[in-house]
Every structure is written in structure tokens, then in C-alpha cells.
């Protein structure tokens, strides 16, 4: 049996790979003929996603069912029977990832229909496709003034909720636009800027550094006339309806649940909410009402790629726990490599990439020219697909006796790992492969590319002669995990890993489990917090696979992914532990807004969390103040607005006659939370927006605020002032960051960076085997924390499922004979993987080391080496080199450019 993943977009792909990589059989069901979903529609995103798609296409544990649809589902968790396009599929659990569709009934009033009014997705394509000036689609004139209208088809009557992702993607588009065309004037019409974390910094930059005009107004109308677009908007400064003439308008179109979701819900019996999204709960964000069926991605709520992928990781783990592992994990089988001998025998394999290369490259001619090169034993240019070419490589190694492979085809970013694997299973050391990118960087980039292709192959053949075996060591994986932090995130991660069958050490610095949530009587949505928390604590403490250490601290972390060691001291413990993976869930802490609105001096002023802790909602006149506290080193929590408005609502509900004010700059009730904002307004909560230049003041009991909509001062005499506060990173982040060598940003942990920039591994870090989640990454809502910590658990389990790991192949090596012990490399290693050590110096007599004569200092490469090669290029004596990128290997190519 296995697991069915429905939807082949970024979420589906992520879930399928996590499962397949840990040895589960996956049926990936996609209604289209190709994988990639919405992301594949954009060149840049497709680029980032393509290596993942290549892995799915070639994964032995994934059965790909393209152009297929789920027709029926029967049975129950552990034993589902699916009918997929007339084929029967038996699985133990199901992951739903059908994704989203964009809002497509754009109102005519936006001038939609005029060629110069484009939806944001189309604009992204235009921007990417533009070479030279950005021109108007209608008349080809250069664009000088452009407007972005947000919330088109969201936060409106037809689609009541906020689409969450639009604010961020609009900011990204504008940033790209301004980087390329700094002279274009950009106007953004918005209601609230709902960006979080790093995107918040981006928007601030756009306003301050790039001079983008952010105009707060819901644009009623765009009128195309006489070659310009007249955009009507509310000019708050002048207090009238104004018109701005623009050359082009981009509509930030909202998201809707996938059109197929309705049928899918019917077939599977999964409940959808009033907006048509799959219903999940705040404490169980991955589970649907049908046990064994899990949901992730934009089918549960509108969200960005990062959150989608995190949920997909998490849903994969949930599904895996119900399933039986049946398949071998690729790369875990025994491998023996042939002796390659001294003389290089090079096999050149040219893949036609399904005709793509042949369009501009005369492959046969290239093959003829390559054939006569020295050391080339074999040239194969007849294969046209990746699978065939890989088969040819395997034949070449086994039957053709070649001991170096030059593989020409698509980009190594997509297929290098897969071809390396093929070489390894055919018995050739995988580092005797040289990849030539004759598709992306040759056939697609030039009109006449035959000579270029030959030139590239010529260089590769030269380099191939100097390639060397790289021996990697295999070491066993310790099937245990360390979780740091006993809050909701840490406990969820620990439970996830334990449920998957591995032992967990849970280390909490305080005396009790519970973390931030333990202090609140209520969840942000008003539900009781104590029950789910108690349930979680009980589950953790009663789980025999989890060892909890309180008042404890981990120190002296050593080792690498799969085999870490650390020392734990705490309540009655002082022991050494070994573990294969680590999850960091340290959470965040609140900033104390000393000095803001007389906080700390006047006891009428409390923080939002103090107010929620006290749980007294009976004030007569109360003012909630948001966005007031802005200072270095703090970050606004994603849940602030939601918590603030639900509190305001509660006051109003308890006492109809109370006067409830909310003073704000941006109300960030993202996604479905938009509903409580609407509710609060309807129930009479008064929202007053102030400007960042004129913040509210509180003196002698009077709160005065300049309201920008009234364009006037408002004075309130509140019984209570409630101040929302930003978050600060946990105190131990600094220490953990240097111990695990993880970079921080504003004190919070950073995920591994991808190129192009997109977050396809939101819980992975630069240090393999160390994962991050919850508010340690970014202070978020509890549902997101739970999803992300399940994701971190999932990623940890993928690693723990392996019996052994290999030491990294591309690392620095020292020639100790030459090393002079100067220590330059030690100083510059970015991960401190190098150290100097005293070594005995052998006296070599007639080629034989006989006695030692004293000692000398030499550099030693430690476990942490990441293979950047900085040391190799700085070493003054040439003793340092980087495997696979040794000087002679690079020089070999340079001679034949």
C-alpha cells in the first residue's frame, strides 16, 4: 500500500518527495499533463522548482499519475480504496493539495479589457519578457507612470476574505520593476499593507528608498480614455475624490480555492468552510474531518509558497504515520566502484533533450568532432530523452569500459544528482562525471549554437581527464532527535517525530512545558487555550519515546547530520546524548514597551498580552493601540491584529454600551481572519487610523490621536489603554546560532537560502540535520506554528529514516607535506571547520619515512566543511584544495576555451 497525494503543484511535489525519500510508496495524482501547478507558469519559479520536478519524475518510489483525476474514495484510514481515472489504487492515507485558482471575474470598473490593465500574473510575465524599455501593450509607448491596485477580487462582496499573498507578491513585482526601471513612477492603491517579517522590510524600502507612492484608497474606478488610464481614488490629504492619470495599471488579483476542490470534497467527503476552502482547525491545521485524509497548501486558506510548502511537509508526516514503509530508500544500497586505473577512457553522452538541443545545435556534427579528441573512447549522440541517455551511460560503464563520463544535456542544476546516482549504481565513482549544460546555456541562448556546444564539450573532455575518484565514508544515522524548546512548536515537533517511531530528547529551559501559550487563557480566536495545551503536554509526558528535560540546557554540540553529540545539563541530569537530527523551537518573547503612552507609569496602560492574560473584558471605554511600538531588533507578530481585534470584539460583545476604539496603521487580519475585522466594524468597534508621522499621545488621562480619514484630532478619555507589542527573539538564539552555526536575521533563525529566491525548504537550515520552526523563525499564529513544527518533524524523519549517511564529497583537503601552517585558511573559513594542529614531521630518507624530527603545524579539515573553496583559493602555498575543483581540474578547461 502507500499514500496518495492529490495535486502536483508545489505542495503536492513537496509532500510526495518527503514521503518517497523516507521509503513510502507514493501515488502522485495530477489532473494536468505536467507537474508544477501554478508555479510552473512563471519562468523564474519554474526554474526553482524544476530540480524538484526532475526528482519526482525519476523517483523509484513515486508512481506518477498525470492527466488523472480522483473519481471515488472509499474505506477508512489505513485502508482507502481510490479510483483514479478508472484505475484502482489502494492506499493507507491521502494528502490533498489541489491548490488555488485566481479570481477571474474582474469587474469592468477596473478598466479590465483595456490592454493596458493587466492582472499581476500577466504583468510578471511582461516584466520578465521585456528587454529594453517596458512598453504599454496597447501602443508600444514606454511606460512612465504605473499603478498597482490591490485587493482586486478579495476583501470584497464576492470574495470576502483576504488573499494574504497579494501584498507580498505585489511588493516583489514593484521591487523588480524599480530595480530595472528606476525612473518609472509607481503608485500603489491599497487598503492595508498586510506583509509580515522580511516582506515588511521590503515594503519599507520601497517607500523610503525607491520612492514608491503608497496611496491608501480602495479605487472605485479606472477609466481608459485617450491613451491614458484615469484612476479615481480618495485623496485623504485633500479629503476629496481625485484622479491620477497613468500609463498602465496592474491588478493584484485575489485567490480562490481550486475549481476542482468542490468535486474533490464531494468525492472524499472532506468538509469545506463557508469560503470553499478545506476546513481545518486552529489546533489541527493539517487534519480534515475525514481521518486519514490530510490537507495542505492554498486549498486550506490563501497563503504564500513558504506556508504551503511547510504544510505539505507536515501533512506528509501525518500521512506517513498511518502508513507502512514498504520501499527501499534510494542511495542506501551497497555500492562498489570499479577500479578506474590511470588512463582516462572518456565516454561522451549527448542527450537531445527531446529535440530541444537539436533545434540550434547540429548534434551529429558535434559528435563527429568530439570523437577524434584524445582519450575519448565512446560518443553517444543518438539518445533523445533523459531516461535513454542514462541507460546509455550505464551501458557505457558496464559494457563499454569507460571510466570518465561527459554528459551533455540540460542544466546540472536539474539532473546532475540523478546522473551521478546512475553512474554510482552502474559501478563508477559518481565524481568521475562532468556535466555540460548545452540546453539552457547553449541551445536556448544562441541561434547558432553548434560551435558553442563543441567548445563546451571540448572543455569538459579536458576537465574529465583530471577528475578523480572521491571516496566518501558511510556512517550510521542515530535514529534519535533532539528538540530544543518545550512550547507548542517544540512539543508538536517532538510528538511528530516520536509518532513516526524515533526517540526524542526534549529540552526545555524553564521548569515547565508550555512555552508562550502556557501564559494565556485563550487562543487568538477566543477558544480556550488550556485544554489543547494540557492535551499536548499529557501526550508528550506520557509518550515513552520522548524524554523530557526541564530547567535544562544543551551544550557542546558536535558532529554532523545523522550523528550529532551534545551534553545536557538540567534537573538531575548531566549526560551525553547522541542524535541524528535537531529541531530548534525556541519561540519568541515579548518586547516591554517601556515609555510608550506612559506604559509603566500609568496603570491604565497595559500591553495586549497582559490584557488577555487578565481576561477582564468589561471596560467602559477602552482604546486598543496597534503599530505604535517600533524599534530596533523587534518584529511584529503575524497574529497581533487578530488577537487585538478579537479582544476588542469580546469587550464589545460583553458590554454593548462600551466604547471600543482601535488605533492602527494597518489592520493585518490576513486570510479568513478578515471575517472578524468585518464583524468588529459591524458591531460598532471604532477604528481610527493614524499616520506614522503623528502617533497617538497619552497624557493626564486623555488619549489624543490624529485620524487621517477625518483629517482631524480625536480625543478619547479611556478607562484602559491596551498596547500591542512586537516580539523579540528568544534569549538563547544567539548561543544556539553559534553552537549550530546558523545565521540569524534580527535575532531570528534563517532558513536555508534557495536560488532563485523562493522558500521551498522553510524549515531546513544551512546546517544539514538542523531544522527550525515556530516563532523561533518568525512569530506566527498557533496554527502556522503547529504546521511548521510538524514540517520540521517531517524533515527530521526523512533524515532519520536512513540507515546511514555519507560524508560530504566536495570538501577541502590539505596536502600536509606542503602546508606551512600559516593559518590563513583557519581565519577565513566561514564555518570554522579548519584548525591548526601539531603533527610530527617524518624524515623521508630515500622515499621512506623513517623517523620523526620534531613537529610542525598543519591545517586540518574538520567535519563542518561545506565545500565553498575559500581556503583553496587563499592558500599561499597551494596546500589546500577543494575536491572536484582542484587547480589542475580548473586549469585543464582554461587551456581549451
Amino acid at each position: 500500500m502507500g499514500i496518495a497525494v492529490i495535486g502536483g503543484g508545489v505542495a503536492g511535489i513537496t509532500a510526495a518527495l518527503d514521503l518517497a525519500d523516507s521509503g513510502y510508496k507514493v501515488h502522485l495524482i495530477e489532473k494536468n499533463a505536467e507537474l508544477g501547478g501554478k508555479m510552473a507558469e512563471l519562468a523564474e519559479c519554474q526554474m526553482g522548482l524544476s530540480p524538484y520536478i526532475a526528482r519526482v519524475n525519476n523517483h523509484p518510489n513515486i508512481e506518477l499519475m498525470l492527466s488523472s483525476e480522483l473519481e471515488s474514495l472509499s474505506g477508512s484510514a489505513g485502508n482507502f480504496k481510490l479510483k483514479v481515472s478508472d484505475k484502482g489504487v489502494d492506499v493507507e492515507s491521502v494528502v490533498l493539495a489541489p491548490g488555488y485558482d485566481v479570481y477571474d471575474e474582474i469587474a469592468k470598473s477596473y478598466g479590465f479589457g483595456s490592454p493596458d490593465v493587466v492582472p499581476s500574473l500577466d504583468f510578471e510575465g511582461m516584466l520578465k519578457g521585456a528587454s529594453g524599455e517596458l512598453v504599454r501593450p496597447s501602443d508600444g509607448k514606454p511606460v512612465k507612470r504605473i499603478g498597482f491596485i490591490k485587493c482586486v477580487g478579495s476583501r470584497c462582496v464576492e470574495n470576502k476574505i483576504c488573499s494574504t499573498a497579494c501584498c507580498a507578491y505585489t511588493a516583489k513585482e514593484i521591487w523588480e520593476l524599480k530595480e530595472r526601471y528606476p525612473d518609472i513612477d509607481v503608485y500603489v492603491f491599497y487598503m492595508d499593507v498586510r506583509v509580515f517579517g522580511r516582506d515588511e522590510e521590503l515594503v519599507a524600502d520601497l517607500k523610503d528608498k525607491y520612492g514608491v507612492h503608497y496611496i491608501r484608497s480602495r479605487t472605485p474606478e479606472v477609466i481608459p480614455e485617450k491613451g491614458v488610464l484615469a484612476v479615481k481614488y480618495e485623496n485623504l490629504e485633500k479629503g476629496l475624490l481625485d484622479t491620477l492619470e497613468l500609463d498602465m495599471v496592474v491588478l493584484a488579483v485575489g485567490l480562490l480555492p481550486a475549481k476542482t476542490l468542490g468535486t474533490l470534497a464531494e468525492v472524499t467527503g472532506v468538509k469545506t468552510d463557508e469560503y470553499g476552502y478545506i476546513e481545518t482547525s486552529i489546533t489541527n491545521p493539517l487534519e480534515t474531518n475525514v481521518p486519514g485524509v490530510f490537507a495542505c497548501g492554498a486549498a486550506t486558506a490563501p497563503m504564500k509558497v513558504r506556508e504551503s510548502v511547510g504544510m505539505a511537509n507536515g501533512a506528509a508526516l501525518k500521512a506517513a504515520i498511518l502508513s507502512e514503509r514498504t520501499e527501499p530508500i534510494p542511495g542506501q544500497e551497497d555500492r562498489k566502484y570499479i577500479e578506474t586505473g590511470e588512463e582516462p577512457k572518456i565516454g561522451v553522452f549527448i542527450c537531445g533533450c527531446e529535440g530541444e538541443v537539436g533545434q540550434t545545435v547540429d548534434i551529429a556534427a558535434v559528435a563527429e568532432r568530439v570523437k577524434v579528441l584524445k582519450s575519448v573512447e565512446l560518443v553517444n549522440s543518438d539518445t533523445n530523452t533523459m531516461q535513454d541517455t542514462i541507460a546509455a551511460v550505464e551501458r557505457g560503464i558496464v559494457d563499454g569500459g569507460v571510466n570518465r563520463i561527459v554528459f551533455a544535456g540540460c542544466s546540472p542544476r536539474e539532473y546532475e544528482d540523478i546522473v551521478r546516482d546512475a553512474c554510482a549504481s552502474a559501478g563508477l565513482n559518481p565524481y568521475l562525471l562532468e556535466f555540460v549544460n548545452i540546453r539552457e546555456q547553449c541551445a536556448w541562448a544562441h541561434d547558432k549554437a553548434t560551435d558553442v556546444a563543441y567548445g563546451m564539450l571540448r572543455m569538459a573532455v579536458e576537465r574529465a581527464k583530471y577528475l578523480e575518484d572521491i571516496q566518501v565514508e558511510r556512517y550510521p544515522v542515530i535514529p534519535k532527535a533532539l528538540v530544543i524548546g518545550g512550547g507548542v512548536s517544540g512539543m508538536t515537533a517532538a510528538l511528530g517525530i516520536a509518532d513516526a517511531g524515533y526517540e526524542v530528547y526534549l529540552v526545555e529551559k524553564s521548569a515547565e512545558l508550555g512555552g508562550g501559550l502556557g501564559k494565556f487563557p485563550e487562543l487568538p480566536n477566543g477558544e480556550q487555550a488550556s485544554e489543547p495545551l494540557k492535551e499536548l503536554v499529557d501526550k508528550v509526558t506520557s509518550n515513552e519515546r520522548i524524554t523530557v528535560y526541564t530547567n535544562a540546557k544543551e551544550e557542546d554540540v558536535r558532529g554532523r547530520a545523522g550523528s550529532f553529540k551534545a551534553h545536557i545539563t538540567g534537573d538531575g541530569v548531566d549526560e551525553e546524548i547522541g542524535f541524528g537530527a535537531c529541531v530548534i523551537a525556541t519561540g519568541a518573547r515579548e518586547y516591554v514597551p517601556e515609555g510608550y503612552l506612559d506604559y509603566g507609569k500609568d496603570n491604565k496602560v497595559t500591553t495586549l498580552s497582559e490584557f488577555r492574560k487578565a481576561g477582564e473584558y468589561n471596560a467602559g471605554t477602552i482604546a486598543f493601540v496597534q503599530d505604535m511600538v517600533q524599534t530596533e531588533g523587534v518584529i511584529n507578530s503575524k497574529s497581533t491584529s487578530v488577537e487585538l481585534i478579537s479582544s476588542a470584539l469580546k469587550v464589545k460583545e460583553q458590554n454593548q454600551d462600551s466604547n471600543v476604539f482601535v488605533l492602527y496603521q494597518d489592520i493585518k487580519t490576513y486570510g479568513k481572519w478578515e471575517a472578524i475585522y468585518k464583524d468588529a466594524r459591524e458591531k460598532g468597534v471604532i477604528f481610527l487610523r493614524y499616520d506614522s508621522k503623528k502617533v497617538p499621545e497619552f497624557s493626564s488621562g486623555i488619549l489624543s490621536v490624529f485620524d487621517v480619514i477625518l483629517n482631524d484630532d480625536v480625543q478619547i478619555k479611556p478607562d484602559q489603554v491596551v498596547l500591542s507589542t512586537p516580539m523579540m527573539p528568544a534569549e538563547e538564539n544567539e548561543r544556539l546560532s553559534s553552537m549550530f552555526k546558523l545565521p540569524l536575521r534580527n535575532g531570528f533563525f534563517m532558513e536555508a537560502q534557495e536560488r532563485p529566491k523562493m522558500v521551498l525548504t522553510p524549515v531546513d537550515t544551512v546546517n544539514e540535520g538542523v531544522f527550525i520552526c515556530g516563532s523561533a523563525v518568525y512569530p506566527a499564529m498557533i496554527d502556522e506554528c503547529i504546521a511548521m513544527s510538524t514540517a520540521a518533524a517531517s524533515r527530521a524523519c526523512v533524515l532519520l529514516a536512513k540507515n546511514f549517511l555519507e560524508t560530504p564529497a566536495v570538501t577541502a583537503v590539505v596536502d600536509e607535506q606542503i602546508c606551512s601552517g600559516c593559518g590563513v585558511c583557519v581565519d577565513m573559513c566561514p564555518v570554522e571547520a579548519l584548525e591548526l594542529s601539531e603533527e610530527p614531521v617524518p624524515v623521508v630518507t630515500f622515499g621512506v619515512a623513517t623517523v620523526t624530527s620534531g613537529t610542525k603545524k598543519v591545517a586540518k579539515v574538520g567535519d563542518g566543511c561545506i565545500g565553498c573553496g575559500c581556503c583553496a583559493s587563499y592558500c599561499p602555498s597551494g596546500a589546500m584544495s577543494l575536491k572536484n575543483f582542484k587547480d589542475k581540474q580548473v586549469y585543464a578547461q582554461l587551456d581549451y576555451v
Binding site: C868, C870, S873, D895
Partner: protein, 143 residues
């Protein structure tokens, strides 16, 4: 290298790129079918930090008409700070190149993985620039 120049001068350029940013940008240029002159050959390094100035010197002394280096934007290195090292030493290296009179033939760029367009444009202007400078004085000479 070392062959005679026939007809229009087509410069030979060698580029060193890091695997994570500029190499990916070159891929993106191809994927989005941005055409650029076929004069440059790219040597893939894992990180800009691996760029040994000797590589560049070797290329130029071999008679290449131009050379360039491109990595991740400063502050965005996949290996934390490799591109800062590269930037620092390129600055120092230029003082040497100036003595050879080859300074103008070596360019350095920062092109991130999402800047396919920028990569293609850079290749265009680079090729134009080198064409204008004419063949390398070291072309065809054995040093």
C-alpha cells in the same frame, strides 16, 4: 587559442560564476529564451570564494580577449561570506592587472539567480565592450 583572426573580430571571453546565483541566472536566461552573444564560456565554481585570481590571470595570459567573474549579490552568499572574500581580492588583484594593462578586460558582476534578463544583457554589453577594445595584445603569443 592562438589561431588567426578571420573576418569580424569575435572575442573570446571566459567567465567564472558561482553555482548558486549567476550559473542559475544563466540557466534562467536560457529557460526564458533570452538570446545573447555566444562568445563567453562559463566555468562553474561552487562559490565565488573559490575564485583564485590565478585563474583569471591564466585565462588572460592564454590570450582570451576578456574575462569576467560573477557571483551572488554581496550579503547573499550561499556559503555565508564567500563573495565578500572574492570582492576583496578582486579589488587587490586589479592593481596587478593594471600593470599588465589588462584591467579593462576583466569585469566583475553580481547577478542573482532570478536575474536571467540581467545576465543576458550583461553578456551583450560585455561582448560589445570587449569587441571595442579589440583583440587581446597577448592573443597568439606564447608566454
Amino acid at each position: 587559442m592562438g589561431e588567426e583572426i578571420e573576418g569580424d573580430f569575435e572575442p573570446k571571453i571566459v567567465g567564472f560564476t558561482c553555482n548558486w546565483c549567476t550559473y542559475a541566472a544563466a540557466d534562467l536566461a536560457g529557460t526564458s529564451r533570452k538570446k545573447y552573444p555566444p562568445n563567453s564560456r562559463i566555468i562553474r565554481l561552487m562559490c565565488s570564494g573559490r575564485l583564485d585570481p590565478m585563474f583569471v590571470l591564466k585565462v588572460l595570459l592564454n590570450g582570451a580577449d576578456g574575462a569576467f567573474f560573477s557571483g551572488c549579490h554581496p550579503g547573499e552568499c550561499h556559503y555565508i561570506k564567500g563573495n565578500f572574500f572574492a570582492r576583496r581580492r578582486i579589488a587587490a588583484f586589479r592593481t596587478i592587472l593594471k600593470q599588465f594593462g589588462l584591467d579593462s578586460r576583466f569585469k566583475s558582476y553580481w547577478i542573482s539567480a532570478s536575474e536571467g534578463e540581467k545576465f543576458a544583457n550583461t553578456m551583450k554589453t560585455l561582448t560589445e565592450d570587449i569587441k571595442e577594445q579589440g583583440p587581446s595584445p597577448l592573443r597568439g603569443k606564447i608566454l
